[in-house]
């Protein structure tokens, strides 16, 4: 019995973990709660621009309006696609590739396992960039570069084409997944930003189609979100 427990323990410590399944954004309390997010410390002039954006968002909200920070049906991309409202993300795991499909806006990111990362300047800028993964004991470590500067940033923060995102995925409990995200950007950030997303397993959940083909919300000339009404 002791030998069996030892084998299970060592397997958990040194073998890759099955991350497959549908995972819904959640929050953790108690011993498994991750550390709080680190602050966003931006370099000038990015800080001034960020503060101005935040002020516009607050002012619009005070007027009962929403200041648009992204195109309403455009993708979120990495890393913000990982938590959009309460929509789950599905992880499909194979030895050579781990694929993450989010329900909101049907976004897809592919993590190539065991491959070498391409230099940042050689990756065509996109919403998902290029991600490579490796196992560090029970933790999946993912390196992503090549996120276009117009893709939404964490907490709306700006980023450059030199941004690098490191994620550490692990299952602290059978029902829980943590995605610790560290953003490094030598152009815009004074220091890396780290935050952890918490997910809960949705057993037997069937992902739902989400094609954004009926968006009645639009952005007016003042960058405010409006709702188009029908008259019949």
């Amino acid at each position: 019995m002791k030998l069996f427990a030892f084998v299970v323990f060592t397997s958990a410590c040194f073998a890759q973990v099955d991350l497959s399944g549908a995972w819904a954004p959640s929050r953790a309390t108690g011993p498994s709660a991750p550390a709080p997010p680190t602050p966003i410390l931006l370099k000038a002039p990015y800080k001034a621009a960020y503060d101005e954006l935040q002020a516009k968002i607050r002012a619009a909200s005070a007027r009962g309006e929403q200041y648009a920070v992204k195109g309403l049906c455009s993708p979120y991309g990495v890393p913000t696609m990982m938590t959009v409202a309460s929509y789950p993300a599905e992880i499909i795991q194979t030895p050579k590739q781990i694929t993450i499909v989010t329900e909101a806006f049907s976004e897809v990111r592919r993590i190539f396992m065991g491959k070498t990362q391409t230099p940042i300047d050689d990756v065509p800028p996109g919403y998902y960039g290029r991600s490579v993964g490796r196992w560090d004991k029970d933790t999946l470590v993912v390196d992503t570069v090549g996120i276009k500067t117009t893709a939404p940033g964490y907490q709306n923060m700006p980023h450059s084409d030199q941004m690098r995102i490191t994620e550490r995925f692990r299952r602290p409990t059978p029902e829980t997944l943590h995605d610790q995200i560290t953003i490094e950007d030598p152009i815009t950030l004074e220091q890396p930003v780290t935050y952890t997303l918490v997910f809960r397993l949705l057993a037997d959940y069937e992902m739902v189609e989400f094609v954004c083909d009926n968006n009645r919300e639009y952005i007016d000339e003042n960058n405010i979100v409006r709702l188009k009404l029908h008259d019949k």
């Binding site: 929050r27 991750p34 989400f210």
Partner: protein
């Protein structure tokens, strides 16, 4: 030493706020106010990023005013008992909504009462009063 342990325990027990992004805020709706309307469904759109109920509402004098009611997405609604064919054109319905702040005839659904008396909210934990 004890201080370190206590601080560690406090940190471990802290509720960690996760930076979840909403598709959009609901700031355009007057969430502190509710309006109830009884009318006839002209269309029910089971679409993303939101579903919509279009209804014609008659006033006491018989004049018809058209309203657009925004709901959550199909994924959210189906968890609260909605189906793509829950409403058909011509169905009678009563809706309670948070009206648009700008006064236009539209709002965010709080609760729908169907012709058979069934009550549906705007997704799980969003307004259904059963």
């Amino acid at each position: 030493m004890c201080k370190k342990i206590i601080l560690g325990l406090l940190a471990a027990c802290a509720i960690v706020a996760i930076p979840v992004r909403a598709h959009h805020s609901f700031v355009m709706f007057e969430t502190a106010k509710q309006t109830t309307l009884a009318g006839t469904v002209t269309s029910f759109e089971w679409t993303n990023p939101h579903c919509y109920i279009e209804i014609d509402v008659k006033d006491a004098a018989g004049a018809v005013k058209h309203w657009s009611v925004e709901l959550g997405s199909p994924s959210i609604l189906q968890q609260g008992g909605w189906k793509f064919n829950t409403l058909k054109k011509g169905a009678e319905i009563t809706v309670t909504l948070n009206p648009l702040k700008n006064g236009n005839p539209g709002g965010l659904l709080v609760q729908a009462t169907l012709a058979d008396g069934k009550k549906l909210g705007n997704g799980p934990g969003r307004g259904a009063q059963k």
